[in-house]
């Protein structure tokens, strides 16, 4: 039995149930791709700035 709540666990369960009932929420994917690209770029910039500053 699922009850509404605010913990991340219950949110995840409710999200999983919505996906099971309605299919994968496609509006999520553009955000996922946006985040993946931005995170990759930020990781590269931070990494090689640190490498440059630490004379790697």
């Amino acid at each position: 039995v699922l009850r509404s709540g605010t913990t991340s666990g219950s949110l995840a369960i409710r999200a999983a149930r919505r996906i099971a009932l309605n299919g994968y929420p496609m509006t999520v994917m553009p955000r996922v791709m946006f985040t993946v690209y931005l995170a990759l770029i930020a990781a590269g910039l931070v990494l090689y700035t640190i490498v440059g500053l630490t004379h790697g």
Partner: protein, 224 residues
Amino acid sequence: MRRLWRENSLSIVFLALFMGALAGQAFAGWHDFNNEALSHQQDTISLGRYLLSSSFGNAVMENWQSEYLQFTLYILLTVWFVQKGSPESKELEKSGSESDEDQRVGEHANADSPAWARARGLRLWLLSNSLVLVMATIWLGSWFAQALTGRNDYNADQLVHGEPALSLWQFLGTAHFWEATLQNWQSEFLAVGSMAVFAIYLRQRGSPESKPVGAPHNATGIEG
């Protein structure tokens, strides 16, 4: 899964191409680095050490900065500059930042417009310029990282040849830094300029970067 692929294939394919090319660059660069070290009677390094080296970082950042400069300038300059007949250009009379009605902001925002398109002041300004702000930040960040790693790489070479190491400020004044920077910029500017001009008369059926095949050569701002 099929729908996920169909709706996001462009970003997935380019992500895969990026990862593959970066892995190839790392592997080839590592071998090249070690070959160079052996020719100077120096120790070779592991792949992991090479990935965290200024040599590899400089090669990556040098290319990133020029690509992001290219897109920053292209996004920004196409606000005001136009090219008759090019699908990369706006229609000639739309040069400039356009009216609120054209841009669907403020009271002209639609129900499904981003929330900040309805806002005023800083939030609207940020949303209105967010693409250029992010691209320019990446450009400047990668150019800075190129300078830092390039200096380390340059100084390593200086030491091998018994020359003095340079400060960052001194390195920014070297022909080496500017040659590495400008050799990338020139190719980006040529590629973008030629793309805008070639697309006046040439077509690629089905591509949004091209006009429809049957569109007239003088049609401006039409995408297929």
